[in-house]
């Protein structure tokens, strides 16, 4: 469904001045020419194309840079947006974040960054106006990932819940291991979220696999890599919360429910026990109930 192109959403001018040099277009195979290693983050989602243009503003070398990405799925446009969503949230697109001259927003399959490089001031009004103009041209809206709905709200730190797929995303959010024991990849849906509960700053990592068998195998692999010094448990036990207190005095809680793995990290012991259970409850409400209804409907 390529009914719109990223380059068509770029404005023809900003304050009467055209892009210099002319707008450029990048695909998965040459994205690195624009952003070098930064391309890895975009390629970790279902990236299709990027249109970028720089518009001079004012009398000096100030400029507004506009980057418009078209992703394969709206969930992935949301995913890139959610990786660094901190800031104020103007009503632009489906979610937007603004701070210090940078506006980021998503709408449908589009993820947009507008950056004002100005030594005079942030040109906030200009950036937001451009954002509204571009958002209005995006001819669709899209769905957020359903997995985001199973995050408990209590204690969740605002703007610190990221949807992703691959190990490269997890590694830059929270390093667990230099291999990929969880078997993350384009086929996995994952969420990383930060909490503040009492004196602790626990994190939740959720990974949804294609099947229960895949999830069980990934959990067993992870436990072997991450907890090799602790007594192993049988696969029959992996649907109860396993809590281990680690060297730094903080607890980790592990739980599998159906094809979902739930990890609670850097937590107090009781939170490591209770937070995964709450996620499991929300997961069943969100997914299992509806799945049953779908079967009945058919």
């Amino acid at each position: 469904m390529d009914d719109w192109k990223a380059i068509d959403l770029l404005p023809s001018d900003v304050e009467g001045r055209e892009a210099t040099p002319p707008p450029r277009l990048f695909g998965p195979s040459d994205l690195h020419k624009y952003m070098n290693g930064g391309a890895a983050l975009y390629l970790a989602y279902d990236f299709r194309e990027l249109a970028v243009a720089s518009y001079p503003i004012g009398p000096g070398e100030d400029a507004v840079i506009i980057e418009i990405c078209r992703m394969g799925r709206s969930q992935d446009a949301f995913g890139i947006y959610s990786d660094g969503a901190e800031g104020e949230h103007p009503d632009i697109g489906q979610d937007a974040g603004y701070g210090v001259g940078l506006l980021r927003f998503w709408k449908g399959r589009a993820f947009v960054r507008i950056l004002c490089l100005s030594e005079e001031d942030e040109r906030r009004d200009l950036v937001l106006a451009l954002g509204r103009e571009i958002a209005a041209r995006i001819p669709e809206t899209g769905e957020r990932p359903r997995l985001m709905r199973v995050l408990p709200r209590e204690g969740l730190v605002a703007d610190r819940a990221t949807y992703f797929h691959t190990i490269i995303s997890l590694n830059h959010l929270y390093f667990l291991s230099d291999g990929n024991p969880l078997g993350l990849g384009p086929h996995t849906d994952a969420v990383f979220a930060e909490y503040e509960i009492g004196e602790h700053a626990p994190k939740l990592l959720l990974v949804r696999y294609r099947s229960e068998d895949e999830a069980a195998a990934a959990l067993a692999r992870f436990e072997g890599v991450y907890l090799p010094d602790r007594p192993a448990r049988t696969s029959a036990q992996d649907t109860t919360v396993r809590v281990e207190v680690l060297e730094d005095g903080q607890a980790v809680g592990l739980l599998r429910t159906e094809a979902l793995l739930i990890f609670c990290l850097d937590a107090g012991r009781s939170t490591a026990q209770s937070l995964p259970q709450e996620v499991a409850r929300l997961f069943h409400r969100e997914f299992t109930t509806e799945a049953k209804e779908e079967v009945i409907d058919e």
């Binding site: 070098n36 930064g38 660094g84 800031g87 701070g99 950056l115 830059h172 390093f175 291991s177």
Partner: protein
């Protein structure tokens, strides 16, 4: 089943992996530090609150003074000219490895370095600056917008700019990098080779495998004999570093550190750089916020490639100038 033992966060917590770096990242207690060894590498961190004005514009005179004062401290000389002469000879063909991608090195720093090297007798018009496959020559071509030179690459994907020089200067900008944790001295040589597409992760697809495994083997670039032998000096531009979200510019995480990090040991320089970024991240969050992924390429450049020392207890850090929130 698990043939190659994987490195985990717990290894850092216990201090059993890259202990010095784990401490710098706040992931291991200081008691995990190895015993103090004789000092081997000197790294100078020099800062001046006036190097940027209130609009963020570089004050060139202040920057030039920071550079010469810092260099004197690295070289241990009484004058700046003596220091420049320690590293460069009049018949050297000097090429400066800048960075033009996303968070570019400032042309003002390139010019200050050219002028300094010229005091050692190298004709300033002959000093080159380059990144990737574009470059310029002389003080009128410090800005990438003016670059016309295309050095090309040899059969091994290494830039001819490296081969044509007798002396190299490495001047990266300091930033967090989402693939490798840190983008500074070691990683800057990525712009000296071609074929570094980050999508490929198999060795056969890539002349230099530097984006796989969190960039663990970035040191391989610095171990290229021509680079290792010719790189005389490292000046990391830390005027406005990026502590999160890099390499893409995210102004929310850029801050006016107003510093230069200068040395000759790329591993030691990067070890100090990661401590600065880590300090800023912890300050922003008000609690430990480790660089992620851990920039293990710094430690591996020490242990595997023997390019320098990553152990902060073996690095002599000389702090000069503005001290507030120096983080080292």
């Amino acid at each position: 089943m698990n043939e190659k033992r994987e490195l985990t966060r717990r290894d850092f917590m216990r201090g059993t992996a890259y202990a010095g770096m784990a401490i710098a990242l706040g992931m291991a207690p200081a008691t995990a530090a190895p015993s103090r060894q004789p000092t081997k590498s000197r790294v100078v961190v020099i800062r001046d609150a006036k190097v940027l004005d209130d609009k963020g514009k570089v004050q060139t005179e202040v920057l030039a003074r920071m550079l010469t004062d810092g260099l004197k401290a690295v070289a241990g000389t009484a004058t700046a000219q003596e220091a420049w002469k320690r590293y460069f000879k009049p018949d050297d063909k000097v090429t400066i490895k800048s960075n033009v991608m996303i968070t570019p090195t400032r042309p003002e720093l390139v010019r200050a370095i050219m002028e300094g090297i010229a005091t050692a007798g190298v004709p300033i018009e002959e000093i080159r600056v380059w990144d990737r496959n574009r470059g310029g020559k002389g003080p009128d071509q410090t800005d990438p917008k003016t670059w016309q030179w295309q050095p090309g690459f040899d059969a091994n994907s290494v830039s001819n700019a490296v081969h044509e020089a007798t002396a190299l200067v490495n001047i990266p900008g300091l930033k967090n990098h989402m693939v490798s944790g840190l983008g500074a001295a070691l990683k800057n040589w990525a712009g000296a080779v071609t074929n570094i597409h980050p999508r490929y992760t198999k060795a056969e697809d890539l002349s230099f495998l530097i984006h796989a495994d969190s960039g663990a083997d970035i040191g391989v670039l610095n171990a290229i004999p021509a680079i290792r032998k010719k790189c005389r000096l490292i000046v990391v531009e830390a005027l406005r570093p990026l502590c999160n979200g890099g390499p893409m510019v995210d102004p929310r995480y850029v801050w006016p550190y107003k510093g230069l990090v200068i040395g000759t040991d790329p591993v030691a320089v990067d070890s100090v750089c990661l401590k600065i970024l880590q300090g800023r991240r912890d300050q922003m969050r008000g609690r430990s916020w480790p660089l992620s992924p851990p920039p293990k390429h710094v430690a591996i450049a020490d242990t595997k490639y023997k390019l320098g020392t990553a152990d902060l207890s073996k690095i002599e850090i000389v702090r000069l100038g503005w001290e507030e929130n120096a983080f080292v």
